[in-house]
Amino acid sequence: MRKKPNRESIQTALRTHGQTRRAAFDAACALAALGQPIHLRALIERVKPHSDPVAIQHGLNDWLDANAHRGPCGPAPTGEASWVSPGEPTDPAIQADALLQDADTRLWVLRFQRRRLQNHRQQMGIRHPSESDCQPWLAPLQETLQESLQREIALIEGLEAVLTGLKDGLAQDLRRHQAMSRTVHDRTDPAPDRLGEPRQNCADRTNR
């Protein structure tokens, strides 16, 4: 005969359901931060083994609700209740990614600034014969300007080198961080993949 559930067992079940739901929600947030696809299977792999799939589905629904696009109905909740923090992203991986993109843009602009100066310098280097004959005072001025341009070019080249070094360091940190997060996720035992089993059994039977 089936035992009637008492108040304590109901409370425990509800608590476990809430914890799993919350864990699934957190897992969805982590996946989103890493830019990975968010689906039930991925969440099952990231919560405690043998967790209630209904609770995981509820956690996923919570995440979808919290991150759904808010149109004319009003903005997403803010403050403690907000699942997606407004303004600057807090995840270091996202921040590092944004910094890398910024560094790329800056390097790109620096490259054009260097090329622009090189072009100016080249234009100055081509001295017109009539110009130097008629205006001899122009030569020292041109030399000073050439030196100044050369200094600016060297300065930009230095900046490019420093920025490239910083960017490479940041990219390495980002890769290390991503590898670490993967290790942390791998430590959680994934739920056994039983979805394929019945089909496999059917196939075996057919083969026999």
């Binding site: 993109q101 790329d104 843009t105 790109w108 602009v109 054009f112 600034q113 090329r115 622009r116 090189q118 072009n119 100016h120 234009q123 100055m124 081509i126 017109h128 110009e131």
Partner: protein, 107 residues
């Protein structure tokens, strides 16, 4: 400032170009090396560094340009971006295909 520095041949080329195409972008893009772009009819953006010359052909005006060797970082994907496929960056564009010309970098 650089306009004054251009020598006779360059000045003449610039004047000729301005006569053929009296637009803002011709002197701007002929006297500087920068990240520029021209928009074509089919939403293709051609990334160019400099306009070297403007010539009158039998079937219209052509721009001799130096293409950029890479697209801008984080280039919006709603456009088709075109840049130099090799290290040889010289190209000619038919002016009749150009819808707009503008700068890609702000600094």
């Amino acid at each position: 400032m650089l306009n004054n520095r251009l020598f006779d041949t360059d000045q003449e080329r610039l004047k000729r170009a301005e006569r053929l195409l009296p637009t803002w972008f011709v002197p701007r893009m002929m006297t500087d090396v920068w990240a520029f772009s021209v928009l074509l009819h089919d939403s293709t953006l051609i990334c160019i560094e400099q306009i070297r010359d403007v010539r009158l052909g039998a079937d219209g005006v052509y721009l001799d340009v130096i293409l950029m060797d890479a697209p801008p970082p984080q280039a919006p994907s709603r456009f088709r971006w075109l840049w130099a496929p090799t290290t040889r960056t010289r190209a000619s564009l038919a002016n009749r295909a150009v819808m707009a010309a503008f700068e890609l970098a702000d600094r």
